[in-house]
């Protein structure tokens, strides 16, 4: 008698265990079967994607990294960069790209496929990573500025980098200089790519931070080393200075709401 009851009870327990294993808790707080299609996963056209993480992962992460992902260009969660770049310039770069460099325009007019709303979401999401910057070691140079004194820049450049860092001369490779804009060089000197060993303006020379003028000088020195494909020096192109009416960099938002990336 006991044996005859054991089988159905055992089967009941097994079925309950299977059903329990097949369930998961979803963001709506309810338990759902794992196979139940999630309305959030419903197919939608790419122009309807409004989730910042999805947009960043699909469009930016390969070149700019973020979080634990390292990439070859300046990271978009680099705090120095976030405090440096004005929001409207960031938006303009994403929308139209930077001509003559590897940064493509993602706006629809450039064939990039992102709508204006999606670009707004990207800009807001990136800026939401911003935290107040500690500038006690040296004031943050301006985002843009005219080229400075190349001779001073050369003198500073000769002091640059510590022993275990990439050799400073690698910056002077004509092909590298031919691939980047003056503004990229200036931004690189200020924010660096610390995760790959390229220091920011605090670590460019030992002992102190670069000033705004020194950043312009170093940029000028790098620009004067630019050559064409035949090794002939090129005339330095002046760096355009943003108009005086440029809006102030928005204050750091509440960082607890900053979107996270893996």
């Amino acid at each position: 008698m006991i044996r005859s009851r054991a089988l159905p009870i055992g089967l009941l327990f097994a079925a309950t265990a299977i059903l329990q294993t097949a369930c998961e808790k979803r963001p709506d707080g309810k338990m759902h079967f794992m196979g139940e299609p999630n309305p959030a996963a419903k197919w939608k056209p790419s122009e309807d994607i409004t989730d910042f993480t999805a947009l960043y992962s699909q469009n930016c992460i390969a070149c700019h990294g973020a979080g634990k992902t390292v990439a070859a260009s300046i990271a978009m969660d680099n705090q120095t960069y976030l405090n440096l770049v004005p929001a409207d310039i960031l938006k303009n770069i994403i929308t139209n790209g930077v001509k003559g460099t590897r940064m493509p325009g993602f706006g629809e007019a450039e064939g990039g496929g992102l709508t204006g709303r999606q670009i707004e979401i990207l800009v807001n999401g990136i800026l939401a990573w911003k935290k107040p910057l500690d500038t006690s070691a040296g004031a943050l140079p301006a985002y843009a500025g005219p080229l400075g004194n190349a001779a001073n820049g050369q003198a500073l450049f000769s002091q640059s980098f510590e022993k275990d860092r990439p050799p400073a001369e690698t910056y002077l490779n004509p092909a590298f200089l031919g691939l980047v804009s003056n503004q990229y060089l200036r931004t690189l000197v200020i924010v660096g790519i610390p995760e790959l060993g390229y220091p920011d303006y605090h670590g460019f020379i030992p002992g102190r931070s670069l000033t705004d003028q020194e950043v312009s000088d170093v940029t000028a020195w790098l620009v004067t080393n630019r050559k064409n494909e035949f090794g002939e020096p090129l005339a330095a192109q002046p760096t355009p200075v943003p108009p005086a009416s440029l809006p102030a960099v928005p204050p750091a938002p509440n960082t607890t709401d900053a979107p996270k990336l893996p």
């Binding site: 299977i18 059903l19 097949a22 079967f33 794992m34 196979g35 139940e36 299609p37 309305p39 419903k42 197919w43 056209p45 790419s46 992962s57 699909q58 469009n59 930016c60 992460i61 390969a62 070149c63 990294g65 992902t69 390292v70 990439a71 070859a72 260009s73 590897r102 493509p104 990439p166 690698t170 910056y171 490779n173 004509p174 092909a175 590298f176 031919g178 691939l179 980047v180 690189l188 790519i193 995760e195 790959l196 060993g197 390229y198 494909e229």
Partner: protein, 509 residues
């Protein structure tokens, strides 16, 4: 009281039996005698296939209550069924997984029948009807895939029509018949709907009736014994003798295994539906949706793989002549080989054929699922580069890494397995090609790679090549120019030491 009820029930049964001959029907069907050894777990797959068909008929009928077979509304009703209709997703899930199980179990059943020699005398027509059932089942599977009218379905029809359109002489007419016009249009889905819910189910029920009739009239194949040969003159008497000596009624002695296995399959289908859910619908059936990535269901993945892998000039032959030849071979099999040994251990060619077929189809299916030949069109902006392939690189090399992304090289080339598998993985390309070789490859292309000479500036090429030369494991020197004189091992070792000191991936050296 109980006696009265029992008597009443018996009276009703007798009344019905005298008119419907239920007892006789039972005696000749479920009660038919089978060889004792044939009440084996190997013999349950036919019943399981039938069970899957019953599940498909029930769930398909229920799905038809909500599904609108119109090109304009099918996709919307699928979304309604999946996301809004209560339990609609479970219904779709069971129908989808039921079809997968049906095809898989039918193939297992055919393999078992083949290996047990059950197609031989006198069961040739049982086998032939089984082959017809396979063809109709695959037809149901294909048209069912079309009912899920999304991007997979749209391109599936397109490819099916393109294959049919190659039929010599009648291609255009076949396409017209299939699509209801020269292109996929308003009538197309209605035609596939008619096939899926009327013509093919009707056909399969008719052929199943024939198949079961043959199973009952010619009997269940005896469990094969090595060394016992089939002889047309003596087999019937031999089989009658087995039944006389060792026969027993299918119900209840054999049927319980079918019922237990049926219960397990039913549970497996329901669990798959609950855990893995229904398939799709994916993107809409819209040819202007350029980011569509259509794939057939698993049972057609091998055809997808063949179509992708074979050379162009083989396509028509392989797609139009291959399948008819395969089906014809299956149909004539019992007529060219219907006597002799039944046991698989004495039929090495049969065993080898099954193993080869399973391995080929399995491998092609795997290739179809992974489809390494397909570029990932979003790789350039979403495929990341692992840190060890970026650390300790010069600014020029880092620009090279950016050029590789921006020029969409990652749509075809992975780095350390991340990205598309269409082209070679670049993780160690610096050990295989020298800088001049890389420059030539980038500029001129070759080996299925387009030429990028007109799309890259000289500095971009410098950067890409510098970066790729740096892509090599720690301690491995860069590729050497094979036109240079050979160097003694000691020099080579010095190169390795230098490379190790410089390091590359992660620069541990």
């Amino acid at each position: 009281m109980i006696d009265k009820a029992t008597k009443a029930a018996q009276g009703v049964f007798t009344w019905l039996d005298s008119r419907l001959h239920i007892a006789e029907l039972w005696e000749h069907t479920a009660g038919h005698h089978i060889p004792k050894k044939s009440a084996s777990w190997f013999y349950v797959f036919g019943s399981l296939t039938l069970l899957c068909l019953v599940i498909q008929l029930i769930t398909g009928t229920l799905l038809a209550f909500a599904y609108v077979p119109s090109g304009a509304e099918a996709y919307t009703t699928l979304q309604y069924l999946t996301f809004e209709q209560p339990l609609g997703w479970i219904l779709r899930g069971i129908h989808y997984w039921g079809s997968n199980f049906m095809v898989a179990i039918m193939l297992i059943h055919m393999t078992q029948v083949y290996l047990f020699g059950a197609y031989k005398y006198p069961r040739e027509l049982t086998w032939v009807s089984g082959v017809l059932l396979l063809v109709i089942t695959l037809g149901l599977a294909f048209t069912g895939q079309v009912m899920r009218f999304d991007e997979d379905a749209y391109w599936g029809i397109g490819i099916g029509a393109a294959i049919a359109g190659r039929s010599p002489g009648i291609g255009e007419q076949v396409v017209q018949l299939m699509l209801g016009g020269p292109i996929i249009g308003a009538e197309t889905l209605s035609r596939f709907f008619s096939l899926h819910v009327f013509i093919l189910p009707g056909s399969i029920l008719a052929v199943i009736a024939l198949h079961l009739r043959l199973v009952l009239s010619k009997g269940i194949n005896e469990y094969p014994e090595p060394g016992v040969l089939v002889n047309r003159e003596t087999y019937d008497a031999h089989y009658a003798n087995i039944l006389k000596k060792d026969g027993m009624p299918f119900a209840p002695y054999g049927i319980w295994k079918d019922l237990v296995a049926g219960g397990i399959v039913l549970m497996a289908i329901v669990v798959c539906a609950l855990v893995l859910g229904p398939k799709g619908p994916f993107g809409p059936p819209d040819p202007t949706q350029i980011d569509a990535n259509p794939r057939p269901d698993f049972y057609f993945m091998w055809i997808f793989a063949i179509a992708a892998l074979m050379p162009d000039y083989m396509e028509t032959v392989a797609l139009l002549i291959g399948p008819p030849i395969g089906i014809a071979l299956l149909i004539i099999l019992p007529f060219i080989n219907n006597t002799g040994e039944k046991h698989w251990s004495r039929r090495p060619v049969a065993l080898l054929a099954v193993v080869s077929l399973v391995l080929s189809l399995g491998l092609l299916t795997w290739y179809g699922i992974t489809s390494p030949w397909s570029p990932d069109m979003t790789g350039w902006r979403s495929a990341i580069t692992p840190k060890q392939f970026l650390e300790h690189r010069s600014p020029l090399e880092l620009q090279g890494a950016i050029v590789i992304q921006q020029k969409q090289c990652r749509n075809c080339h992975a780095i350390d397995g991340i990205g598309s598998q269409r082209g070679p993985d670049l993780a160690a390309v610096g050990t295989r090609l020298t800088a001049p070789q890389l420059t030539r490859q980038v500029i001129q292309g070759g080996g299925n790679m387009p030429a990028y000479g007109k799309n890259l500036t000289p500095y971009e090429i410098d950067a890409v090549v510098a970066y790729m030369v740096s892509l090599r494991p720690n301690g491995v020197p860069p590729a050497r120019d094979s036109t240079l004189p050979a160097v003694p091992p000691s020099t080579r070792q010095a190169e390795k030491n230098q490379a190790s000191a410089e390091g590359q991936h992660g620069k541990e050296g």
